[in-house]
């Protein structure tokens, strides 16, 4: 089999497993998996930039919350339908990531990390500052009667599961296609040796900017869908913690692999869920995992599998 066929089979297999899972797992895990699928889209968006271009952003909460607030504010204040609100959310993340990319990409390395961190912090503070519209820290609830698309009630667990699944499936296949495209290969070339890519005549800045926009738009899509499906829009999703979490998921699952972000989100979600049952200081788990990963497995789970067993893993 060609590597492309193998990887397509693998990812379609994962999607098939998720369809089967909906009929067999308990309601508790069913609800969790819906959340994980949407959050995995966030992680996949983060991975486009971190895993394939090698740019470590500490500000992706900005794009996630741009999608979420774009969707929520459009519904709350403009009274648009759910589907149109999602589009507004995605569009706001698209515009914001283009602006952020255009300024932040003038820096590299540590400066890029700090610039994205600061811009995201400014975004979070702006949400608090415009508390009249955003309801600040408290956030706002999207009433169940508005959470319908084409007559389908998104508060119903099964509908919600398949809505999350649909978004995940589309984003997974899009990322897969991106990675196999010539554009994706140029991104990897930039990650491996930026100077060399430039010498070969590629417009490095333009490629990076497009990668930031794809990454930010995917993250914003996750934010908009998450807000709509679970009915809550709040400033917590704009804090530094939500910039660190996608980094953690991607590092754990394996940066630079298409399937890694999903695996990382799945493991981390359950790890945090399990430890929050034991102690209120559950974020200590995130800290320990981050330190252990940097020390012992910088490639993450899927990265280790790729290195040892399946070199064709995209």
């Amino acid at each position: 089999m060609r590597p492309e066929t193998k990887s397509l089979a693998l990812h379609l297999g994962l999607l098939a497993l998720l369809v089967i899972a909906q009929f067999v797992i308990s309601p508790f895990h069913h609800g969790n998996l819906s959340r994980i699928m949407v959050l995995a889209v966030f992680a996949m968006g983060y991975n486009v930039l971190f895993g394939y271009v090698g740019l470590l952003s500490l500000g992706h909460a900005l794009f996630f919350s741009a999608g979420m607030y774009g969707m929520g504010l459009a519904m709350q204040h403009l009274g648009v339908s759910a589907l149109a609100a999602i589009a507004v959310g995605i569009l706001s993340a698209f515009v914001l990531s283009a602006v952020v990319g255009a300024v932040a990409l003038r820096t590299t390395g540590v400066a890029f990390m700090i610039v994205t961190l600061m811009l995201a912090q400014a975004g979070y503070l702006a949400i608090l500052y415009f508390g009249t519209y955003t309801r600040g820290d408290e956030g706002f609830v999207i009433q169940p009667e508005f959470r319908t698309i084409a007559g389908l009630d998104l508060t119903d667990p099964t509908v919600r599961y398949f809505a999350a699944f649909l978004v995940l499936a589309v984003c997974l296949l899009l990322t897969l296609r991106l990675v196999h495209s010539s554009f994706g290969r140029v991104l990897v070339a930039i990650r491996e040796n930026e100077e060399r890519a430039r010498m070969l005549g590629y417009d490095v800045f333009r490629h990076k900017l497009i990668a930031v926009v794809i990454s930010g738009t995917l993250s914003g899509t996750a934010g908009a869908v998450y807000g709509l499906l679970f009915g809550y829009v709040g400033a917590t999703f704009a804090t530094v913690q939500y910039s660190i979490l996608p980094l953690l998921w991607v590092l754990l699952g394996g940066a630079g692999t298409v399937i890694g972000p999903f695996i990382g989100t799945l493991f981390m979600f359950y790890l945090i869920d399990f430890s929050s049952g034991l102690t209120s200081a559950y974020m200590v788990v995130a800290g320990v995992v981050l330190v252990l990963l940097t020390l012992f497995a910088p490639q993450g789970l899927a990265g280790e599998v790729k290195r040892r067993l399946l070199p064709w893993l995209p």
């Binding site: 003038r106 990390m113 702006a126 590092l251 200081a281 330190v291 940097t294 020390l295």
Partner: protein
């Protein structure tokens, strides 16, 4: 209160903040300058300083001053030891790679913060100041009787706040003397300029790194011990100092100590004054945006020189 006395009061509060900020930011700046790594856990070392200060002070008996002096000595040493241990266990093994160090110190941030939550608890706890006399401050005005000195109601400070400012200046002078007058300071500056060359001249660079990381964290802890009688110790108190130190270090020019101190005074004072007249949130939005744009358009900082 009139505008004049109000401004004086705001700048006094700002000066206290600037004093503590200068200590914390100089700690971050030394670590960045010598080791070329960004320590995201710096705010948590600040928080640990405050928590240890409470812990030491709660053990001490007698006059609150005894507990405070003990805390002033012991808390920075304890925090410095913890930081040095973290350096040896974690940072040394990722070979001080800038990006991996940031990820690792984010991990350390959560570990320190959450372990404090488990042990110290979620409450804010106070430490008694060693002395705390209220001092009223005079103001002048040109009234019907010509020039006169008045004592406006509410215009005043405490002896402890003045002590914080004086102590911070003394500590900063000591740091300056350490860096420019001692052998250890010479080793640090040599390592900062050229790591390989320093190693070739027989400097144990690894040991310099361990002590610099501990020293930087100790300075943050020292700032925290000074502020804790005014602010109380809490497990989440590390966030603001971290953000502000970042701002100060970047505006002052990465790795430049004098620039850091100037920027700390500037940011501390203006933050105090702006927060008093406008919204504190707006002040923070403006300063974070300022930092982002300085990094993009003037990476050497406002006061730094462009590296060759």
């Amino acid at each position: 209160m009139d505008f004049g006395p109000y401004l004086l009061l705001a700048s006094l509060e700002g000066a206290v903040m600037a004093a503590v900020l200068a200590l914390t930011a100089v700690g971050l700046s030394i670590v960045f300058g010598v080791m070329r790594v960004v320590n995201v856990a710096h705010g948590e070392f600040f928080m640990l300083g405050a928590v240890f200060a409470w812990w030491v002070a709660s053990w001490a008996v007698g006059h609150p001053a005894i507990g405070f002096v003990l805390a002033l000595v012991l808390a920075p040493i304890l925090v410095g030891l913890i930081a040095s241990a973290a350096d040896m266990i974690v940072l040394k093994r990722v070979e001080y790679d800038p990006e991996r160090t940031i990820v690792a110190t984010i991990g350390l941030l959560y570990i320190i913060q959450q372990v404090t939550l488990m042990t110290f608890g979620p409450e804010a706890r106070p430490v008694q100041p060693p002395f705390n006399q209220r001092l009223a401050l005079p103001w002048f005005e040109f009234g019907e009787n010509g020039f006169e000195i008045i004592w406006p109601w509410g215009l005043g400070t405490t002896s402890y706040k003045l002590f914080v400012i004086a102590a911070a200046i003394a500590i900063l002078l000591a740091v300056w003397a350490l860096m420019s007058r001692t052998k250890l300071g010479l080793y640090m500056r040599a390592t900062q300029l050229d790591r390989q060359m320093a190693q070739a001249f027989g400097i144990n660079v690894e040991r310099v790194y361990v002590s610099v990381f501990g020293f930087g964290a100790g300075l943050a802890a020292l700032g925290a011990v000074l502020i804790v009688p005014i602010q109380q110790a809490h497990y989440l108190m590390g966030g603001d100092p971290l953000l502000l130190s970042f701002i100060v270090v970047i505006i002052g020019g990465l790795g430049s100590l004098s620039g850091t101190v100037v920027a700390a005074v500037l940011i501390g004072m203006s933050d105090g004054v702006i927060s008093m007249f406008f919204s504190p949130t707006l002040a923070k939005i403006l300063s974070t945006l300022l930092v982002a744009f300085i990094l993009i358009f003037r990476p050497q900082g406002l006061f730094g020189k462009r590296a060759a």
